[in-house]
Amino acid sequence: MLNPTKRDRALLYAGIIAFALFAVVPYYWILRTSILTNFAAISPDTGFLPLGELTLDPYFAVWADFAFPLYFRNSIIVAFGATLISLFFAIPGAYAFARLDFPGRQALFYTAVFTIMFPWIVLTIPVYEVFYFLNLVNTLPGIVIALSIFVLPQNIWLLQGFFRQGIPENIEEAALIDGHNELTAFMRIVLPLSAPAIGAAALFAFLTAWNNFLWVFVLTSDEGVRTATVAIHYILGSDVLREWNTLMASVVLLVAPPVIFYGLSRRYLGEGLGGSPGG
């Protein structure tokens, strides 16, 4: 019989492997499809690991037949723009909610939380009206603004939790006594301490903006400002559905950047991701 520690270890690894398979095997299947010729991808004779028949043509097809370089450029602009702007507003906003006791604070906070939970599919047309009124329809700045506002409540919520709990108040107090003014205290002491939380907020903002379908879809019809996520939707609705390998190659291209981005940043973000104090 195994000793308890060994048995525990075995159970642990079995559990981890089960999770990893559940998470990764669906990805594997689209990856496999994306590196086969279209006919091999649908043929019943192609095996699970068709090493002999691989091709990168679907990726070239995606690149050549659709304006994917343009879509990805747009996605990158939109995701970075929305991340920066939402952080710019979320940090002072969260700080105010966490540390400043102004009347109405709670009510305002609840309305912000309320927007996090709202089912947006219900409101596409009124939102379009607002953006048309502001002359922002079919423009990249319009998408950037829409997405930064869209991720704002969640970022405020994430950061204020951190400011409230993760940063001991007396650190600021001490800094103020040490001759810092409020701004330098915030910049020199609070912000560096909040780096993991801000990093996490940035990651979430980036992912939300990159993955967002609904708003970009509603607010654009020009191909020039289309993002990769919406482009995939249009590919799904078009004749290309007959070219599974091309479709799956575009899905891989869409999914890979945020996953890789997360993989690279996870180490540095540490536990800031949970919106809770680090270590």
Binding site: F39, Y132, N138, E173, D222, E223, G237, D239
Partner: protein, 530 residues
């Protein structure tokens, strides 16, 4: 709760000098102002960032302002030397990458030919067209020209389209050169509400010769020309082979296959669903006052569901036609009734695919929908159909491709949009490659068929056959819904008829109660929409 009096109070109460306080307030205020200012700056910078070609500027109405050329419209030149950019929202241009680049090049070509009209081409897939139009038109920002499809009728009824009659009056080709279905598509209660469909696609019977030849079929045009003969063949395939003998494309959005089947219960192109005065129409479905026609219409609804249950895969109720080429070319599906003239779809799956009978070795072949014969009713187990006959080569559609000019843009743009639509219908540089090569289908003007055949003499079998069907059944080839002249044509077709049948294929209600349910839903719809 107010447990939060912590903030910076402490520091203040310990040293609390007035000057210090105001300095800190100043810092706070500047930071906040900076963030407020950034939002303003952001909004400001969008002015030059926006290149949507939208010349309404800061105007919010978007209601016939801008560069009015003054002239009241009418056909002919107009426009003068003033250049104008029209927004054109197309679904066709999003269908595949080769038609997409053809559209893009053609917009340049049109621009050069017209001199003063440039085009901002926007695209949305057919499934998203209504969504795009809903938000743009609803907020007063319509495109000048759009492939509105049947949704355009709603806009027409609300005076959001120009009256196309004024354009038609100034034109030699419209509507005289229209195809038969286009005459119905573009006309609503004697008004020309749209410029018509720039192309037609038809849905017909599609088979896999490689499979059918194995059950002894040698001359498919003869041996599969009635539903009974077709039935016998698929029964045999079903029993002898490991393949789906017949796959219904049963997702509500792709049940045009049924529309074609339904018509084969009649001869002479009689409408199976709704007839008569549009103000008080006769709904044939489940109508006990019209017993014989009710049997034809209800019978085909039931036959469609039964055939799907008996021969199709479990997924039939959610099967889209897009998946069929992959399934048929890998031998998993033997037949379906959503075969279109577009050969490109098949070559996209396998560029070596053989289209046509090819001595029983072909991969895919297009045939007319089978004729209804007297025995089919008892074969499929639908007593309504027993003893009835009819024929009709399939279903042709055009309503989905109807192009419309919107009235919410300046007169110059309306004129430009009309010129653009004429270009899309009649300029050989656009029409012939578009429908002969990039997306094989039947041009919207009947007069374009011969030039197309001259330009492309070697057409794939499915396109050839679709054209022959068109010739054979031309006068009967009505577009489903086009002739009804109802306000609610669109939801009746897609929701009340198709979705209800799709539900039945999914097993959500029984075969026999389906026609009654369809009728109930159609009547409610007509009542509500007036």
């Amino acid at each position: 709760m107010s447990t939060d009096g912590r903030s910076e109070k402490t520091a203040e109460s310990t040293d609390g000098t007035g000057t210090d306080r105001s300095r800190r307030d100043f810092v706070k205020a500047t930071t906040a102002a900076a963030s407020a200012g950034a939002l303003g700056a952001l909004a400001g910078c969008t002015g030059d960032g926006g290149d949507g070609g939208n010349d309404t500027g800061g105007d919010t109405g978007g209601d016939g302002d801008g560069n009015d050329s003054g002239g009241g419209g009418g056909g002919g030149g107009g426009g003068g030397s003033e250049s104008v950019e029209v927004q054109f929202l197309s679904a066709q241009a999003a269908e595949n990458s080769s038609i997409r680049s053809h559209f893009q090049e053609s917009m340049q070509d049109f621009q050069e030919k017209s001199g003063n009209v440039s085009v901002s081409l926007q695209t949305a897939s057919y499934g998203d067209m209504k969504n795009k139009l809903a938000s743009t038109v609803q907020s007063g920002n319509p495109p000048a020209l759009a492939e509105s499809g049947s949704a355009g009728l709603q806009f027409f009824l609300n005076d959001q389209l120009v009256d196309h009659t004024k354009f038609f009056e100034g034109s030699d080709t419209f509507p005289d050169d229209f195809t038969v279905p286009n005459k119905e598509v573009a006309n609503f209660r004697d008004q020309w509400w749209s410029a018509g469909a720039i192309r037609h696609t038809s849905s017909n019977l599609g088979i896999r010769p490689k499979i059918f030849s194995q059950v002894g079929i040698q001359n498919p045009m003869e041996e599969l020309n009635t539903w009974s003969k077709f039935h016998d063949a698929i029964v045999q395939i079903d029993e002898e082979m490991d393949t789906i003998a017949y796959e219904e494309t049963g997702v509500a959005g792709d049940l045009e296959s049924y529309w074609g089947q339904a018509r084969t219960a009649y001869t002479g192109g009689t409408d199976p669903w709704i007839r008569g005065n549009p103000d008080d129409p006769d709904v044939v479905i489940a109508n006990s006052d019209m017993e014989e026609d009710r049997r034809r219409t209800d019978g085909m609804i039931k036959a469609c569901i039964k055939r799907a249950n008996e021969f199709s895969s479990d997924e039939a109720a959610s099967r889209g036609d897009e998946e069929i080429p992959s399934l048929m070319l890998t031998g998993r599906v033997a037949s379906f009734t959503y075969a279109t003239p577009t050969a490109r779809r098949w070559f996209a799956v396998n560029e070596d695919a053989t289209i046509g009978w090819a001595d029983g070795e072909g991969d895919f072949m297009l045939l007319p929908d089978p004729k209804l014969d007297a025995e089919y009713g008892s074969k499929i187990g639908v007593s309504d159909l027993e003893g009835l006959e009819g024929e009709h080569g399939g279903h042709v559609w055009g309503l989905e491709q109807a192009h419309t000019v919107f009235s919410g843009v300046s007169n110059a743009k309306q004129q430009g949009a009309w010129e653009l639509s004429q270009y899309l219908f009649s300029d050989d540089d656009f029409v012939l490659p578009a429908w002969g090569e990039h997306y094989q289908s039947i041009p919207g003007l009947a007069t374009k068929m011969d030039p197309l055949l001259n330009e492309y003499p070697d057409l794939p079998q499915n396109f050839q056959r679709a054209i022959e069907n068109q010739n054979q059944y031309a006068e009967q080839y009505a577009n489903t819904g086009g002739a009804w002249d109802l306000r609610a044509t669109d939801p009746i077709r897609w929701t009340d008829i198709n979705e209800t049948i799709s539900q039945a294929i999914a097993g959500q209600h029984s075969v026999d109660e389906t026609p009654g349910l369809v009728r109930e839903r159609v009547l409610t719809r007509i009542e509500e929409s007036g």
